[in-house]
């Protein structure tokens, strides 16, 4: 949600949607997107199951400020053009994700991850990985030679008791 200036809703058309699905398929093995994709700005993607048609939504937007439609589920990476799933994105697609999953091995590392810290682990990959601990899907990390970088936003991080 941007308060600096109003950015109109952009509901992705079939071609744009297919581009996103192809990337999700290539990166994580995802075959289906359960809803419409709404873009805000150039890289933030929202998944919407709203029951209104695109025309009805646009009709409302003509006279009413729409701040958000659906849930923020993914970001298109500026540098690589690849997709990074948010916590909710990884949870929504959890039953479809077949590859590039990193299973966190212990509770200590899981807490580190949820505190927003990077994990000093070599995965042998240089790519975006879906982070998982037991049944919990917790967003995407970026694996490099010796670590996995963390993208958990500040407001979703586990805080020290204090």
């Amino acid at each position: 949600m941007d308060n600096q200036k109003f950015i109109p809703l952009k509901i992705m058309n079939e071609r744009e949607r297919k581009e996103i699905l192809d990337k999700l398929n290539e990166q994580f093995g995802i075959n289906e997107i359960p809803g419409k994709i709404v873009a805000r700005g150039k890289d933030r993607l929202f998944l919407s199951s709203v029951g209104l048609s695109d025309t009805e939504l646009k009709n409302i937007e003509d006279s009413i400020v729409i701040e958000r439609v659906g849930v923020y589920f993914a970001k298109v990476d500026d540098l690589t053009g690849k997709i990074r799933l948010s916590i909710e994105g990884s949870q929504i697609f959890k039953n479809q994700i077949k590859k590039n999953i990193f299973e966190i091995q212990n509770n200590e590392d899981f807490e580190k991850w949820m505190k927003g810290q990077e994990l000093n682990i070599s995965t042998g990959k240089k790519d975006f990985l879906i982070m998982k601990y037991k049944d919990n899907f917790v967003g995407t990390g970026k694996a490099s030679a010796e670590k996995i970088s963390n993208f958990i936003p500040k407001n979703r991080r586990l805080k020290e008791r204090g």
Partner: protein, 318 residues
Amino acid sequence: MNFESKPLFVERMKKLLENEEDAKEYFEILSKPELKSFRVNTLKTTPEKLKEMLEKKNWKIKQPIKNHPEIMVVDSKLFPGELGRSLEHILGYYYVQEITSMLPILALNPKPEENILDLAASPGSKTTQIAALMKNAGTLIANDVKLQRIKILASNLERCGVTNEVITKSDGAALCRKLKMKNFLFDKILVDAPCSGEGTFRSMPKTFPAWNIKKIYSLSRIQKNLLENAIEVLKPNGEIVYSTCTHAPEENEEIINYVLEKFKNIRVEKITLPVKCRSGITKWNDEIFSDELKNTCRIYPQDNNTEGFFIAKLKKIK
């Protein structure tokens, strides 16, 4: 709380309550700590799974409401703020919510595929509850007037994985007028109106010193405006739940009575809730309200060891 500092409040509450014993119980419970209640977010997990997760942390979990396993209470000592800081909370598996705050949505009874409007939605406790009962299917328009409040709303809807919402920023009454011009009507509407918050003094005693009767009169005007505009965008046979977290009749029965007089096609429906409710009143000071007000529901803290609330369910007949 220093009740003597607000003698008018004490006088009004004594007048509302049944007798001296009832009033004594009311004032006594306000100084007792509230229950640590929360609602399982069934969009992300199940009551069984979450209970198991939390019990592994040595939290003692109770499910105090029959037929509502999603309503839970922690019956063990927690660190201050721990309920809202846990990993399970961060991951959106539950929403910290007072039990009475869950009741308006049980009265509204949202269903998948409906068109629902939540007119004053922030911070999102009831909006996320509506979305869960809609199973993320259908349309949920969640409105609030201030950007700061919308940010909180958006953050909570995101954490809970709500996908069927449209968040709008507008004055509630103005939103209804604009939607009506577009002939956009709803199956169900929640008007959880801004109120003087008398029902929340137990959990937020710091708000008590700000209580004053002028504020109640001013809020009453806002509430009438919100509800009458909401009725205009309700489909025939559609239902509105009007709720407040206050006991003041000027913000409750008086509002419902006002719309009953203004709209001849509105009826007050009987509500069945899984807690002890008292009937709405039909007389306050010099005002006599419709007998239909008996179908509304007053919830006092001493009746269920909760906060206080008022709930009315209205139906637009054809």
